[in-house]
Symmetry: C2
Subunit: 486 residues, 2 copies
Amino acid sequence: MQKGTAAIIGGGVIGGGWAARFVLMGWDVRVFDPDPEAQRKIIEVLANARRSLPGLSDVALPPEGTLRFHDTMSAAVDGADWIQESVPERLALKHKVYQTLQEHCAEGAIIGSSTSGFKPSELQDCATRPAQIIVTHPFNPVYLLPLVELVPTDKNPPELIQRAKDILTGIGMYPLHVRAEIDAHIADRFLEAVWREALWLIKDGIATTTEIDNAIRYGFGLRWAQMGLFETYRIAGGEAGMRHFIEQFGPCLSWPWTKLMDVPELTDDLIDAVAGQSDAQSGMYSIRELERTRDTNLVTILRGLKAQDWGAGKLLNAQDARVAGVPALPDDLTRPIVTVERAVPLDWTDYNGHMNEARYLQAFGDATDRMMLLVGCDADYIATGGSYFTVETHIRHLDEVHAGAVIRVETQVLLGEGKKMHLFHRMYQGDRELATGEHMLVHVSLETRRACDPAPHVAGTLARVASAHTALPRPEGAGKAIGVKG
Amino acid sequence: MQKGTAAIIGGGVIGGGWAARFVLMGWDVRVFDPDPEAQRKIIEVLANARRSLPGLSDVALPPEGTLRFHDTMSAAVDGADWIQESVPERLALKHKVYQTLQEHCAEGAIIGSSTSGFKPSELQDCATRPAQIIVTHPFNPVYLLPLVELVPTDKNPPELIQRAKDILTGIGMYPLHVRAEIDAHIADRFLEAVWREALWLIKDGIATTTEIDNAIRYGFGLRWAQMGLFETYRIAGGEAGMRHFIEQFGPCLSWPWTKLMDVPELTDDLIDAVAGQSDAQSGMYSIRELERTRDTNLVTILRGLKAQDWGAGKLLNAQDARVAGVPALPDDLTRPIVTVERAVPLDWTDYNGHMNEARYLQAFGDATDRMMLLVGCDADYIATGGSYFTVETHIRHLDEVHAGAVIRVETQVLLGEGKKMHLFHRMYQGDRELATGEHMLVHVSLETRRACDPAPHVAGTLARVASAHTALPRPEGAGKAIGVKG
């Protein structure tokens, strides 16, 4: 994984989200923001990110980078590989910022702007070196949502665009290359259209903020978390497909629905109505509480999609593979093998933050899967019709663990001969032992679902590990029945 | 749970979805659709719904109702309590349908229209009894998404509106009462605005269907699955709140982004572009495959939200409570107690549809939670600072089980005295034994996290069950260690 130094210019909600993502992905981060509150705010955003992002991954993230605050822009950008500008949406201000920072930053650095509205050509205007400025527009919360709209102009060399994509992918984002610059890029055009329509509905007294939010989150919002507009409508067209759908739905565009396309005036009355309804809807929660709720929900949704290897979850699996590299048996087989190392994700815990009972077995199951993989029972082998099934499990819960803690499972092979694989997993947080899992597996034919011998290369590798592990002391708790004192 | 007879007039994707939801919630369903393909299509939709809906619930659904197909509208609506009209969006056709069915249906029946565009007053026009016609506009897939827009007029008596809400809530939906009728109700106005904008982006060559879908599902789509527009923006406003957000973002409405507000012409070229790009994006999957992927993703997202008791997941928990009623110890304590009865949900299974290893423990954990509840260790008790923690678990996997299968856990108390609760769970599908789970729990103080005696009423109830269960034979497999033959 490529790492480097990122300078964050402007540390509000968006800048703070960028800082958190870079730091948690191992980058060193330097922040400049003249607001005296910026440091406090960014540290709060980082706390939220620490709570949610590491557990999205099924492998341990690299060690955190450093986070420093600087008094001047020149000190912040000095030596930075990536400079992310997230100052307020005023073009003159942005131009001034670029002029100052281009006096001090490296020519090879990438300057990404978080602008939601300006085109990159507008940003490049008057710049000393337009070639290093692009739009990289993220979505809140930046540390959880993968989308970033990458909008270049023909002034940006292809090498720089590719490097920007690689860096963004490396920190777990999805750079959507917007090929033609346009006001508000792509996603915010949709958000603006919905926002405009929503204001009309409130102004005309048709619906409240609560009703509008429920119309979204109980209906099409659920669809759009996993398929977008077109794939969803392709399905709605049924067997006749997309063309049928357009022919059926398309004419609605010229119906009276479009009558409210002019822009609602933002009167004080309208602002009062929206703010007042929003207070009634969500005022019982602080913004921090809402953020935590949102983040827990997003982690839950993202990890669900990950299990399905679909949409944003597929991106996360690809990121895990990049972070973890290719798994291999360690050279030293005289010690137990580390088969799991990961942060406890938010969706594995109860409302008090303790890891749920069943998730201990999920971690042990992952450890077993990894052990299978290491002895050659990988996806290719399973495709040939053989695999190991767990027939018996014995878990001892020794201590509690919370969301965000990094857990490690060490695995000892107690027996690996014939059809049997007998494993003993120990789960730790640091040196603290949390649980043990003893598991008996049997090799089966996936066709007959009955026990059978594994292929020679699997049997051979397993026997080699088991033989090396016989030198290890038999774990305390192994072979014990429930209720019998160890 | 209220049940009755529903007539489905028009059996396309939407009518089929209604039929499936009613049948799976225990209603008898009668379908009329002159299309000779309607029966095949509805049976296919029902198969998808059977695969996904029952497992959304953490309790067993009532037995399925019957599904009958009728040759005439009059036979279909005869005796129906609810009539759902989902015929094509042509007002004259809908008027004709209402005239025919009102000649044959009961005066007390509710006639709901799935129309996405027409106002209820337009539907009631020319009807024999306008008072029984309302708009009940659902979202695809009807059997999974809870939202239904309920739009009445002042011709509908309040009693009927309330009855309609109760029935829709009873089949697991969320009736959003739209207080003022308007073309396209609420949600479809947003969808239309986004659709219009998306067509412009394609027409102008800015983005493809794939790029647009990714801009949605990797970004704001994830947000909208759990919070809507306003709650999300309230957070974006940060500590300064909604008013700050509007003041910052609101003026964008009059920026040039609004220049594309006129209606794009649906030329053949544009239709070709959309259909062609959609083929390139999703053509490798059949519509049935896409439906199954969508449904699995939706179940995963909905069940994730359920675990957080938020958004659509909170609706599902309320529905489970309505279906299950109040749990109580059975009068007959001479037999093991049924502590879990539910369908295996799609998110508990691997890509081959087998229940994952860790989900056996999740089901046993749910059985343990239920047993705790039945002896008085409920939320109120836990709030006083006492609870049971699992210290040891022994699972034997005896047979496999697939998504959709109804599993049942029967629980025998092996010991219940002092701080200890020793349980033996047996999991079945019908008579087939799938697994056993032996669990040792210890009562703890949630403050000190150390073992302590339970309160007298909990200890007393547990002892009463344990005493009754001593008459049961000791289960085969209890007290055994791994690798030791039973």
